[in-house]
């Protein structure tokens, strides 16, 4: 396969993008600068070596833009990291990163030291914020000189031709894979031009293109790449995600705002977003008013890299002897079931249920998310909930708030290397109903008679 022809075809289709345009411009510059016959040029300054060709233009005639002149002055002993560090003093953007790569490319047509440069660039990508940009990876792969590392016979193919460069190519692809970036056809063309078809980087590219599409959409609960910035919208998204019912309705009880009190202090009010479904409203209405309900939290929920915390309102499971059996209609005919759930993909004799009793944890009545998880905010949530569930005014509400994962972490730090960490929570929960004299650092328990607040409405 003639890569050069393929590349020129791609160029004409405009697949290669902006680099092609700059290459075309540069090619035009070349032709105007030198009076030699037009030479097929590659994406950037390097000219393809062909069978009968020779490097077309000598260094002296290449026009160098003035910005790069001062970078080239002390090029003799400059380590590659220094290039990036010098640019890092200005803004660290994609444009400056590309500029550094261009400086390196224009410096030498043979690209001496390109392996070290590429390793340094890979390390610096995260600082410049371009680690998820495929265009930058293609630009970095373009630093390799073309067609030199392609093995020309079976002996070269057997003996790992140019192992350092192949390893470097593999590391570029590995970093791409680390960030979950799918390569495109430009990457493939570059790899074929640089390393040939039976090389390690090409094999890695084939593996990427085989496995990535297989696993791209296997998440049954996909999280959008761009999470909403607004905390209320984020809370809305996560609450609909964890809700057990599609009919659940999200209510915003309080928007975040800053208030200035009489003394002139600024108080930031956190947002309170709650969710409840009609089934949960029904369950709560039927709840026995003598038994308390608990506000538990905060529980972590991870969406890609962000962790949000939610609180739930739940009741303890009803013990067996207190369970009330629903009376059935004496005129009901038992020959036919009231509900028929036929799973037509399964046989009638198949029993796929396990012989395990379900973990009985009591019903969950509502969930909420707020930035500040203290009792005052949660009280506000409960009073907001009361408008839809008047029974909350008559039911005692207990708060079972954990100190938060940060506190748990610090406690764990003081006891290193223990496999089964003794948990103060279970001890605290056992003695929760009794009034506690000393404050337990992990649990804040308070009994709140809601009746008084209910009567105010």
């Amino acid at each position: 396969m003639n890569c050069a022809r393929c590349l020129s075809r791609l160029q004409s289709f405009g697949v290669l993008g902006p680099s092609a345009k700059s290459a075309a411009q540069y090619a035009a510059l070349l032709q105007s600068a030198s009076s030699q016959p037009p030479v097929l040029s590659n994406t950037h300054s390097q000219v393809l070596r062909r069978f009968h060709g020779s490097p077309a233009c000598p260094k002296s005639r290449r026009p160098v833009p003035s910005d790069f002149v001062e970078a080239k002055k002390d090029k003799s002993l400059v380590a590659h990291d220094d290039l990036f560090e010098r640019v890092a003093k200005e803004a660290k953007t994609k444009a400056t990163f590309s500029k550094v790569v261009d400086v390196f490319n224009k410096r030498d047509v043979r690209r001496r030291g390109h392996v070290e440069f590429i390793y340094a660039a890979l390390k610096k990508m995260a600082e410049f914020g371009v680690e998820r940009d495929l265009v930058v990876y293609n630009k970095l792969l373009d630093v390799f000189p073309k067609e030199i590392f392609v093995p020309r016979n079976f002996i070269q193919r057997m003996f790992n031709h140019y192992p350092r460069q192949q390893e470097c190519g593999v590391q570029v692809l590995e970093q791409m894979e680390n960030y979950g970036i799918m390569p495109n056809v430009e990457t493939k063309v570059l790899l074929v031009q640089i390393f040939g078809e039976k090389s390690h980087p090409m094999r890695k590219y084939q593996r990427l293109m085989y496995w990535f599409p297989k696993f791209k959409h296997i998440n049954p609960f996909p999280v959008p790449l761009q999470l909403p910035e607004d905390p209320v919208d984020l809370a809305r998204l996560s609450l609909t995600r964890i809700a057990g019912d599609r009919d659940a309705k999200v209510t915003v009880y309080q928007m975040p705002c800053t208030d200035i009190t009489e003394t002139g202090e600024e108080i930031t009010l956190p947002h309170i977003v709650g969710i409840q479904s009609p089934d949960q409203i029904e369950l709560l209405a039927r709840h026995n008013t003598s038994r308390p309900v608990f506000v538990e939290g905060p529980f972590p929920l991870w969406l890609r890299k962000t962790c949000v915390y939610y609180y739930i309102l739940r009741a303890e499971p009803v013990p067996l002897d207190e369970k009330v059996e629903e009376p059935y209609d004496p005129e009901r005919c038992f020959d036919f079931p009231l509900q028929l759930n036929l799973d037509l993909q399964r046989d009638l004799g198949d029993d796929e249920s396990f012989d395990m009793e379900d973990v009985d944890e009591g019903p969950v009545f509502a969930m909420c998310m707020t930035s500040q998880g203290d009792q005052a905010t949660l009280n506000q949530w409960i009073s907001g909930l009361q408008q839809a569930n008047p029974v909350l005014g008559r039911v005692p509400t207990l708060f079972r708030l954990d100190a938060g994962p940060r506190e748990l972490q610090r406690a764990a730090d003081t006891e290193p290397g223990r496999g089964h960490r003794p948990d103060p929570e279970t001890d605290a929960r056992a003695g929760e109903e009794e009034p506690r004299c000393e404050p337990e650092p992990d649990i804040v328990v308070e009994e709140e008679p809601r009746r008084s607040q209910g009567m105010k409405h």
Binding site: N160, R164, Q166, E167, V170, Q171, E177, G180, V192, H200, P201, R203, Q206, R207, L208, W211, K214, F215, K216, I218, N219, P220, F221, S238, R241, I242, A243, G244, F299, P300, L301, W302, R304, K305, C307, Y310, I312, R314, Q345, R346, D347, D351, E352, F354, D355, M356, V359, D360, E361, V364, M367, P405, Q409, A412, G417, G419, H420, D423, T426, R429
Partner: protein, 304 residues
């Protein structure tokens, strides 16, 4: 050849392909010497001396432990002997042939936690922590801790930040290895409650050659988060083969007749606390699932 090893995709990175997560095992630095050892030695933390005590120093005599050991092993031997009269694996043969569901691991007391090993990248010098305890009402197991993906500064390790929970190999009397036989089942059924993080399920089988020692069949476990329990059913045909964390080119379906261990790993690059609650782990036979294997077994050396 180390290049060949590195070009293979790390299985945990496939999690990263869609969710930007992290490699589990430390990979060699770019300019490392290729280790041509035929038998790959277990991981030795850089800086640790190669200690190889002579065999006579490994024996420790303890009378009380010896007596306990005798009681335990002879008890197990007796159970095995009398169990054969009931049927294969101690169950009547009708039940063994016709059963469609079997619960393998459930967490009903502190002794159930003894069957699991928890580890994190503390062993290679990282700073993640992982702990295992019984959940509320002693009905579930609760794996929690913190992930920290700063790699240890030993010059060799490039990535870090993982933690795992792996079941111990079941042992018969006198510490003989026992295997699970799941050949009459085809789906793994778990009841979990996670926090939204993606986990990886690893199943290790009994192998013959020593090169296959680190062969693990893996698949992903995506948790939803939230207060509700999640039933996860993964057919065994979806598990792909990975060796030392790198997914292999020659794939074949998981053989169910000699399963050793199952494990859960977390390796996404998100630093912070994590938690996973597991109610039970069982296997079931789904007659509607007819797929033999989800990945191609042909085309070993595809042309470009």
């Amino acid at each position: 050849m180390s290049l060949q090893r590195i070009t293979r995709l790390p299985a945990a990175r496939l999690l990263g392909s869609v969710c930007q997560q992290q490699l589990l095992l430390p990979s060699a630095s770019p300019v490392s010497v290729s280790r041509r050892a035929v038998i790959q030695s277990p991981y030795r933390r850089p800086g640790q001396p190669k200690d190889d005590p002579p065999p006579w120093q490994k024996i420790k005599f303890d009378f009380s432990k010896g007596v306990e050991g005798i009681k335990k092993h002879f008890g197990l031997l007796k159970n095995e002997f009398f169990g054969r009269w009931v049927g294969p694996e101690g169950k009547p043969i009708v039940e063994h042939i016709l059963e469609q569901n079997q619960v393998i691991w459930e967490f009903r007391g502190p002794e159930s936690l003894e069957r699991w090993t928890v580890s994190s990248d503390r062993e290679v010098g990282g700073q993640s922590e992982a702990y295992l305890k019984l959940g509320r009402n002693s009905n579930t197991c609760f794996l929690y801790g913190t992930l920290c993906s700063t790699p240890p500064r030993d010059g060799e390790t490039r990535y870090s930040g993982y933690c795992t929970m792996r079941s111990k190999q079941p042992l018969a009397s006198f510490d003989r290895k026992k295997h699970f036989d799941w050949s009459s089942f085809n789906t793994l059924h778990l009841r979990v409650r996670g926090d939204g993080r993606p986990w990886m399920i690893n199943i290790a089988t009994e192998t013959f050659f020593s090169h296959q020692k680190d062969d693990i069949y893996s698949y992903f476990l995506y948790t939803r988060g939230g207060p509700y329990w999640q039933d996860v059913k993964i057919p065994f045909s979806k598990f792909f083969l990975a060796h030392r964390g790198r997914i292999q080119d020659d794939q074949h379906p998981l053989w169910l007749d000699k399963i050793n261990t199952i494990g859960f790993t977390l390796g996404d690059k998100a630093d912070g606390p994590f938690q996973l609650e597991i109610d039970f782990i069982g296997v079931c036979k789904d007659y509607a699932h007819t797929e033999e294997f989800a990945y191609e077994v042909y085309k070993r050396n595809p042309e470009v």
